[in-house]
């Protein structure tokens, strides 16, 4: 070692001390930033719900996503609302209603104690304004279709009628709304509970435009007021003391946390920083083997189906035999139980079992032998000469697993080669809506508990058809069914239509019915009830009272 190095060594102490002192100052600055930059003087919420990804909008007319809808439903109420236990429509702002014998006229009697959170009464004019706003093309409400059942809804939405007052909804007096429908609509009361039709504050919207939800104070018609909404963070709701049912709102302050990482959601739950995770995508599937045995994991069925769309305009998928052959060679039990693992059930129809007033037809069975015959009849014995084709899906692990499984099954059973085309979300959507694919991954979640929410999608002119498939008999059956007041006859017509869809013509290949998961500790939390719509109101949820002997439950 050189003498100079020795010297430096002996003399290093003070040098280093001075350096450390300098950086001690750095840490003091850091601490100061921490204290000023990220302290929030917010009291803890009574309930913390992990709600899913950041809502794109909380405007009931605009929002489309499930996380968005859950918050919007807490803020704004419709004429009816869904019962938290059964999800059946129950009185909301309207305390009762009368339906004409032909099922075409509804008279809704509004509560006299229905108030905005700011104290003004909610009147029939507010209802009429809210509905006209939804159907007005200028509002650009994606879900305006929910009002097509109301007289003149569709022609207004498509611009054929310009006068909004032609919509079949009328304020007879401040507490009576009269609605005229196009057809008797079996599920109309349920539609009235759907968030798109909720009652929103006219003055605030007209004053603040797109940013009306940021208005202070924001008049709300639902169980909660919006205390704060920080993007990509959380929405804080506070009980609306003016609500007509305020006595049954069982929590004062609720935080809805928005995030995208399933691991983070579970970490928050495990460390007691969140009470409920109610988005299945926020439960890490890798841990499902362990989690599914926990009492906190609650599985439930809901109205949603995972299926494959064929592009029937492209050969060889323009041949029904080819579509049927592909459908009959897929072992759906394997996909539902081995790949999905979240309680999904194999599907042979589009409409999930349990849908109200409906019994679906038999779908195509799993029969590889028959599938091979069909493929041979179509001119591809043993898969010979079958052109290479692709399966479009958006990047996600589970979709990829399903795709790989399909690829192997078709290779093994039919001797045909599937190419996987994995794209990012927006590219996938653009290709799917332009019917630019051979086969495409698809899914559909029911908006209301009726077969129509699934089956009308495949009518010839429906924008969600996306297969190129058109069938006049199908359209005819659907139209007839929806004009029917007799529920039995209607169910039979819908079932005949679905038979064309999933058996005779098969432009789609159903794979499984989704299952939902809600994650909460049943010993601590009560008021969450599984239902087919996967709709859960926030107001009846609460932490269980700690004193033993106190009866749990609402009311």
């Amino acid at each position: 070692m050189s003498p100079s190095a020795r010297k430096s060594e002996s003399d290093l102490g003070p040098a280093f001390r001075a350096l450390l002192q300098g950086f001690g100052a750095v840490f003091v600055v850091a601490l100061a930033i921490m204290l000023t930059g990220c302290v929030r003087h917010e009291p803890k919420a009574d309930l913390v719900l992990i709600n899913g990804t950041e809502p794109e909008s909380l405007d009931p007319a605009i929002c489309t996503g499930q996380p968005d809808g859950r918050v919007a439903a807490g803020l704004f109420e419709g004429l009816t609302r869904l019962d938290p236990v059964t999800a059946a429509p129950s009185p909301g702002i309207a305390e009762r209603w009368e339906i004409s014998p032909d099922g075409l006229r509804y008279r809704f009697f509004l509560r006299t104690n229905a108030l905005w959170s700011t104290g003004e009464p909610i009147t029939s004019e507010d209802v009429v304004y809210s509905w006209r706003r939804v159907i007005d093309p200028a509002t650009a409400a994606d879900y305006a279709g929910q009002l097509y059942y109301v007289k003149n809804g569709e022609p207004i939405s498509t611009g054929k009628i310009k006068d909004l007052t032609q919509l079949g909804v009328r304020a007879v007096h401040p507490h009576l709304v009269e609605v005229e429908l196009e057809n008797p609509t079996a599920f109309f009361l349920e539609l009235c509970a759907f968030r798109t039709l909720a009652v929103v504050p006219r003055q605030t919207i007209e004053k603040y435009g797109d940013r009306w939800l940021m208005a202070k104070p924001l008049p709300t018609s639902g169980c909660y007021t919006l205390e704060s909404w920080r993007v990509n963070d959380k929405v804080r709701l506070r009980k609306n003391p003016k609500h007509w049912d305020a006595a049954n709102i069982l929590n004062e302050v609720v935080d809805l946390v928005h995030l995208e990482s399933a691991n983070t959601a579970l970490n928050l739950f495990e460390t007691g920083q969140a009470d409920v995770i109610w988005d299945k995508t926020l439960i890490p599937m890798e841990l499902m083997d362990v989690l599914k045995h926990r009492p906190s994991t609650h599985f439930f069925s809901y109205l949603a189906t995972y299926f494959v769309r064929f592009n029937v305009t492209r050969p060889p998928f323009n041949d029904v035999r080819v579509r049927q052959a592909l459908a009959m060679s897929v072992d759906k039990v394997r996909i539902a139980t081995h790949i999905m693992q979240g309680g999904e059930k194999p599907a042979s129809t589009l409409v999930p079992p349990g849908t109200a007033n409906y019994a679906g037809p038999e779908g195509l069975p799993y029969d590889p032998e028959r599938a091979r015959q069909l493929l041979a009849e179509a001119g591809y014995p043993g898969g010979k000469g079958f052109p290479s084709f692709h399966y479009l899906f958006n990047t996600a692990k589970q979709h990829e697993q399903v795709a790989v499984e399909l690829q192997q099954m078709w290779k093994k059973e039919l001797g045909i080669q599937l190419e996987l085309r994995n794209t990012e979300w927006k590219v996938y959507l653009a290709d799917q809506s332009a019917v630019n694919f051979d086969l495409s991954r698809s899914a559909w979640v029911g908006d209301y508990n009726d077969a129509n929410t699934f089956l009308d999608m495949f009518m010839s002119n429906n924008g969600n058809n996306r297969t190129g498939w058109k069938n006049s008999r199908y359209d005819e059956l659907m139209r007839k069914a929806n004009a029917m007041t007799d529920l039995k006859q209607r169910a039979s017509l819908l079932s005949q239509a679905e038979k064309i869809l999933v058996f005779d013509e098969s432009p789609i290949l159903p794979l499984f019915y989704y299952a939902g998961i809600t994650f909460y500790d049943p010993d601590r939390i009560e008021g969450i009830h599984a239902n087919l719509l996967d709709e859960h109101a926030i107001y009846p949820i609460r932490k269980k009272p700690k004193t033993p002997g106190v009866p749990a439950g609402r009311k």
């Binding site: 921490m34 990220c38 917010e42 650009a140 994606d142 995030l259």
Partner: protein
């Protein structure tokens, strides 16, 4: 000096214009649009209304001029008026994805959070990196150097998405010392700061060590020592000043990077910054948000590089500004 700074700041304007124009165009080339959804709007008119509302039915040059705020538009009374808002008024426009918010809203909420976290991580990186770098340089060839350098290299090699979960597992789940996510109290900042800053601490430590090793070989250090100055004076007053230059030049882009947030760390610790938006806005084709964030990032990068250049001239008298 001031002339130099003014000239550089003026040069920013055309640069930002070019950047905004390019990002404005590029994001529109990507397939799919901001309003594509799994289910189509109820009628084509709704889609048209949506495009018209956000002026996406106009030619791109018109959209761009409107974005800048320099488009003459009919005012509905037969005359024309300047388009509302626009970049020249500091308004980045509405978000297409978050339709109740403007890009300015999102930035106003997220940027302070990202900047706080970024600054903390920056200070952490400097506070850990510089002392270890100096220490290992001074102890070159000794055990202290080996150990210090090993950890610097380790920090440098393990990315945040590995460090983060490990920190959470150890200090969040097992020992429950720090919260695992969210952004409510100073405690919430600790783990993400380390997860974000550790990698950079490793890099800075290595840069510092190299710089110091080089400078200690210089003749003027030998002179200083020969003059009998204490080793602390030699190291801190004479050597550190030049040895830190590589670190300083690295600090500009580093700080711009850190202040605009990190997708991985913000996602993992659910921090309401803008790092997540940088990625999600592009995936969601939220055109104004992408352009807005790119501009913010570009502005920071250019400004911080300017600061670096200026600080150079203070640290190394051989460097003249301009």
């Amino acid at each position: 000096m001031w002339i130099h700074i003014t000239r550089r700041l003026l040069g920013l304007i055309p640069l930002l214009l070019v950047i905004s124009w390019v990002s404005f165009q590029l994001v529109r080339i990507a397939p799919g649009g901001p309003f594509d959804k799994e289910r189509k709007p109820a009628s084509p008119e709704i889609e048209r209304a949506l495009l018209a509302k956000y002026h996406l039915d106009d030619p791109t040059w018109k959209q761009y001029l409107r974005f800048l705020g320099v488009l003459r538009e009919p005012d509905g009374k037969g005359g024309t008026r300047w388009s509302e808002g626009g970049l020249i008024k500091g308004d980045l426009g509405p978000s297409f994805k978050y339709r109740n918010h403007s890009v300015n809203d999102v930035l106003a909420q997220g940027l302070p959070v990202s900047m706080t976290l970024g600054l903390l991580a920056f200070l952490f990186a400097l506070g850990v990196g510089i002392p270890t770098g100096v220490y290992t340089a001074l102890r070159r060839g000794e055990w202290g150097d080996y150990i210090g350098s090993f950890f610097a290299l380790l920090a440098f090699c393990i990315p945040g998405f590995v460090v983060g979960p490990l920190l959470i597992m150890a200090f969040g789940m097992h020992y429950r010392i720090f919260p695992v996510a969210l952004w409510d109290s100073p405690w919430h900042a600790v783990l993400p700061t380390i997860a974000l800053g550790l990698y950079f601490a490793g890099r800075i430590s290595r840069l510092m060590r190299e710089g110091m090793t080089e400078v200690l070989k210089e003749g003027y250090i030998t002179t200083a020592r020969a003059k009998g100055l204490s080793e602390s004076t030699v190291v801190i007053k004479h050597a550190l000043r030049l040895a830190i230059l590589p670190v300083v030049s690295y600090c500009g882009p580093l700080l711009a990077d850190l202040l605009t947030g990190s997708f991985v760390v913000e996602n993992l610790f659910r921090i309401p910054g803008i790092g997540v938006f940088l990625v999600n806005a592009a995936l969601g084709r939220d055109y104004p948000m992408v352009v807005g964030l790119v501009l913010v990032y570009a502005l920071m990068l250019v400004l911080l590089n300017l600061v670096v250049d200026i600080s150079y001239s203070f640290l190394d008298r051989r460097v003249k500004p301009g």
